[in-house]
């Protein structure tokens, strides 16, 4: 029996059986056409898992070298200490030349291998433009069915942080003292304001204070220009100084995460739905380009369509497949 057959065991995934979760992740990474239907089915079954509805999906992003891996490691330990289970997806870029990748996140993490409540998976972007791997989106959904909290950690500023908005309930941007370019991006509105800002490596109190003050200034400038966090005007982005090596600021970070999750309670379903709509459109337009979009009636129409159909029980993957078939059929009709 091919081992992948076991991947379609949503019950085992929902009970956080590590072998089942791992096989499910292997399946969602599988790009063969014959895997596609099974992925679609699996994700549909996991969609309404009890954990998935109540859980918290966190996107953690920031420029290279700011200590995201170590921060994730420390955060994971603290989350576990609070009695919650956690799944982590660590995304690293693939080499464009070789297609290979070096997934080094685990090297910076210390974890207890016997802990059934912590699961870490590294993913390569597989050369995809946009930072977040195609698979990361699905991987997040698999882990969300199994664990209380899911953290997707991704490197970069700009595109990846836009992508992460589609899958995360809460977007955390991590920088370090002296990340001047991020300040400029925020001020200029090139970058969307995250839900939580973290100044990591805040080992030197003075430097950290200054960095926090600079960020506060940048946020004010951005707000004055009309920007708001995740288009959510009622949320004020907290700025937290952490030191992953000293372990300071981690409790504040978890409190802020919980605070944002609570803040979202009423709008969470809509926010996730919005993310799914966006993902569906992304998937479709990456596959078929502008021509595909215009053939099916343009962006606004597709968006409305996605909103309706996703309410009707479709998942982004199944809907995208559906739309693809329509597009191909439409192509056949044009001369």
């Amino acid at each position: 029996m091919p081992p992948s057959d076991l991947a379609d065991d949503p019950q085992a995934v929902m009970s956080a059986d590590k072998a089942a979760v791992s096989r499910a992740l292997n399946l969602v990474e599988d790009r063969r056409p014959e895997a596609h239907t099974r992925v679609t089915e699996l994700l549909a079954k996991l969609k309404d898992a009890p954990k998935a509805a109540g859980g918290h999906r966190v996107g953690l992003t920031g420029p290279p070298g700011v200590g995201k891996s170590t921060l994730t490691s420390v955060l994971a330990r603290a989350v576990r200490q609070r009695g919650r289970t956690l799944g982590v997806v660590a995304v690293d870029p693939s080499s464009i030349r070789s297609g290979g990748s070096l997934l080094g996140d685990r090297a910076r993490m210390s974890f207890d291998p016997a802990d059934a409540g912590l699961f870490v998976r590294s993913l390569a972007t597989a050369g995809e433009v946009g930072g977040l791997a195609y698979a990361a989106n699905s991987a997040m959904r698999v882990l969300a069915a199994a664990f209380d909290m899911v953290v997707v950690e991704t490197t970069g500023v700009g595109q990846s942080e836009i992508d992460i908005v589609h899958v995360a309930d809460t977007v955390v941007l991590v920088i370090q003292p002296g990340s001047g370019d991020v300040l400029q991006f925020l001020k200029a509105g090139i970058m969307e304001i995250p839900d939580i800002l973290v100044v990591n490596k805040a080992d030197h109190e003075e430097l950290a204070k200054r960095a926090v003050a600079d960020l506060r200034g940048a946020l004010q400038t951005a707000h004055a220009a009309g920007a708001s966090s995740g288009q959510d005007a009622s949320w004020e982005t907290p700025i937290i100084a952490t030191s992953a090596t000293k372990g300071s600021g981690i409790d504040e970070l978890i409190d802020a995460l919980d605070g944002h999750r609570q803040h979202l309670e009423a709008t969470l379903a809509a926010r996730r739905r919005q993310g799914e709509v966006q993902w569906t459109l992304d998937l479709f337009s990456r596959k078929h380009g502008e021509h595909g979009v215009s053939t099916l009636g343009g962006l606004a129409r597709l968006k409305a369509r996605a909103e309706r159909d996703l309410d009707g029980g479709q998942t982004p993957l199944s809907l995208c497949e559906h739309l693809s078939r329509e597009y191909v059929a439409a192509l056949g009709k044009t001369p």
Binding site: P2, D30, R31, D92, G99, G100, A107, F111
Partner: protein, 668 residues
């Protein structure tokens, strides 16, 4: 014209052999034999649990006790190690870093027990934890805590043990990790600057006495086979250190500005093929550090000809010692003043190294200094890149290694006729015996005194008081190595250092045949991806306490460059962690790297745990210093492939790995 040869002979350097294994008693016997053979100093090799702060009964110590050195768990072991060796007459070098404060405390306490006043002790503690993050991998604590231990030891010995060399800044391991001569010079100097700045910042040493601190700094240097360049490197060291001490620290006494260094010649370049050739390499490398009177080593230890095969026997070490003695006592080398003063070639090459190293020193200082450049991964990445270039040159044949990539034909060698007898094997009972002895020690000591000593240690760790006094008291109280380190782990935490591999860029693999090979491997992996639906994923694991990560890093980088998705976990992971990672990551293949000789304990355990987790199908390969008989046994137990230093062609290894994944996929 006067005849130079009439001068009085210079005093020879201190001759040592890096040794220690199995137990304190066995090592004591070895030291006595070595001294009887004319060795003039001791160089203690500690086992990995002792170096990384674990007792023999810790699960992480499994398979490592007594392997690469002697286990010293408490003052009883230290007494046994130096039984009958009067410590006031010894010059003892201890290769110890993260636990240097502790081992020196045990040494001081043992001296006090012998009735020796600590102030007369002579010797060296390596105590360079910075390079552990870069190369050797026996660090425990985060950089700030490590720097505090380094400076505590220095400010203690400068006052209380004035003839002690409190730190040996190691450029040795930087070269092993791939450093070019320029990088070796630069990174050793920035480490020294980082340490001196930190000592200064403690405010514990009065300005007027700072010259004493500078004067006690010593270095531990490597010498490779390009011996003219190495000779110039030593001269460059002398010049640069004089500049740093004078300009940065204002030291006026030329004696305190002298570049004092010891050497172990390059072990990394020793070959498994035609291993007898290594003796020639060792002698050439020794010349580089002895020929210049103006830049001569003060202490030398030579590796043995068969180190790439396994642990050397006493005879092998004796052969290396004889090489030193012949040069120092038989030849006329020590009768002459400096041979190269005024040599145009040597001076120009030295100047070139001085200039390029100074530029790199400035670059690191601009980035915030050694500690910052370690934490950011800057230095590590540079080393990994240089090492990749070096290995590629050997693989391509651009750099000739006799017996390896050229002149490989050989008549049967009588020295390696019976290969399994050509190395030392450690009694497998050592592990259990040490554990039992430790149990007895813990039963017989005054546990109330131990508790009290540990409480005091913890209190001091939370302040900025010097750690030495509390550690010496703990040594007398019977505290163990694991207890000392665990107490501090609780206060300071542990640190996992940057691996330098993720960002390392490797120059395109040249052109012609080698580029074709890479292209073919990439094409095969892409084709395999199409069939498997996922890209082949490889887990590179380093089980056990061995921190020599160069091999694992280079395999990881090469595998990425031919197109694997590579999960690299860094050093010091347990078999449980490796299996947990394999399960969570959904890998197609696992590669383990072990250089400490504990492969027979660790590899089968990983295999067994994989089977128990339902991952018995995932092919497992291993690389390391693995004797043939052990390799045979591992293959028999289902290990898919065993690689040793003679497998220098990484492309071939990659091809094998792709075959393994392909075959496994076909079987499913």
């Amino acid at each position: 014209m006067a005849e130079y040869g009439k001068r009085e002979r210079d005093k020879p350097w201190i001759m040592r052999t890096y040794s220690g294994h199995s137990t304190a008693a066995a090592s004591n016997e070895l030291y006595r034999t070595n001294l009887a053979k004319g060795q003039t100093g001791l160089s203690v090799a500690f086992d990995l649990p002792t170096q990384t702060g674990y007792d023999a009964d810790d699960p992480l110590a499994r398979g490592e006790v007594g392997k690469v050195g002697v286990p010293v768990s408490h003052i009883g072991d230290m007494r046994a190690l130096f039984d009958g060796l009067p410590l006031d007459q010894m010059n003892t070098s201890m290769t110890i870093n993260a636990t240097a404060v502790w081992l020196l405390s045990l040494y001081v306490a043992a001296a006090e027990d012998q009735g020796v006043d600590p102030s007369v002790l002579r010797g060296t503690t390596q105590n360079d934890i910075i390079k552990e993050y870069l190369s050797r991998g026996t660090h425990i604590f985060p950089p700030a805590a490590s720097m505090r231990l380094i400076t505590d030891l220095i400010s203690y010995t400068v006052n209380d043990v004035p003839k002690w060399n409190p730190i040996n800044i190691c450029s040795y391991h930087l070269q092993e990790a791939g450093a070019t001569p320029t990088q070796e010079l630069a990174y050793a100097l920035v480490t020294a600057i980082g340490v001196l700045d930190a000592v200064k910042a403690t405010g514990r040493v009065p300005e007027s006495e700072f010259g004493n601190v500078v004067g006690r700094m010593s270095f531990f240097v490597n010498a490779g086979i390009r011996f003219v360049e190495e000779l110039c490197k030593m001269r460059a060291f002398v010049e640069l250190w004089d500049r740093v001490t004078q300009e940065r620290y204002g030291v006026t006494d030329p004696k305190q500005r002298r570049f004092r260094y010891g050497v172990q010649v390059n072990s990394l370049g020793l070959t498994e093929q035609q291993p007898e050739n290594n003796m020639i390499r060792i002698v050439l490398e020794m010349l580089a550090v002895t020929l210049s009177k103006d830049a001569r080593a003060r202490a030398i230890q030579l590796p043995a000809w068969n180190e790439a095969l396994g642990l050397p026997r006493p005879w092998d070490q004796q052969w290396s010692l004889r090489a030193q003695q012949i040069l120092a006592y038989e030849s006329d080398l020590l009768e002459y003043p400096d041979l190269f003063k005024g040599s145009e070639v040597v001076e120009a090459q030295t100047q070139h190294l001085v200039d390029s190293a100074w530029a790199e020193v400035q670059e690191v200082l601009k980035r915030g200094g050694a500690v910052e450049a370690v934490e950011s991964g800057y230095i590590k990445q540079k080393l990994v890149e240089s090492n990749a270039a070096r290995l590629r040159a050997i693989e391509n044949g651009d750099q000739i290694v006799v017996g390896v990539n050229k002149y490989v034909e050989s008549a049967p060698s009588p020295l390696t006729e019976n290969l399994d007898d050509a190395i030392l094997t450690v009694d497998p009972e050592v592990d259990a015996n040490q554990r039992a002895a430790l149990g007895r020690w813990k039963e017989e000591r005054d546990n109330a005194a131990v508790e009290q000593a540990l409480a005091e240690l913890q209190r001091v760790a939370n302040t900025d008081e010097n750690m030495m006094a509390a550690s010496i008291a703990a040594a007398h109280a019977g505290v163990t190595t694991g207890e000392w380190a665990n107490t501090l782990r609780q206060v300071w935490g542990e640190y996992r250092a940057p691996t330098g591999v993720a960002g390392a860029t490797v120059k395109a693999s040249g052109s012609g045949a080698s580029a074709d090979v890479i292209d073919r491997l990439r094409a095969r992996l892409s084709e395999l991806e199409t069939r498997m639906g996922r890209r082949a994923k490889l887990l590179v694991g380093k089980p056990g306490l061995d921190g020599h990560s160069n091999g694992a890093e280079q395999i990881a980088i090469k595998a990425r460059d031919v197109g694997f998705d590579v999960v690299y976990e860094g050093i010091r992971v347990s078999p449980e962690q490796i299996v947990a990672s394999a399960l969570e990551e959904g890998v197609h293949l696992i590669g383990l790297s072990i250089l400490s000789g504990s492969h027979l304990a660790l590899v089968p355990e990983v295999a067994e745990r994989l089977r128990a987790s339902g991952l018995g199908d995932v092919p497992l390969v291993v690389g390391g210093i693995i004797p043939d008989a052990d390799a045979e046994r591992l293959r028999h137990e289902g290990i898919a492939a065993v690689y040793t230093p003679k497998d220098f062609e990484l492309d071939n290894i990659m091809s094998d790995l792709i075959d393994l994944v392909d075959r496994q996929h076909a079987a499913e």
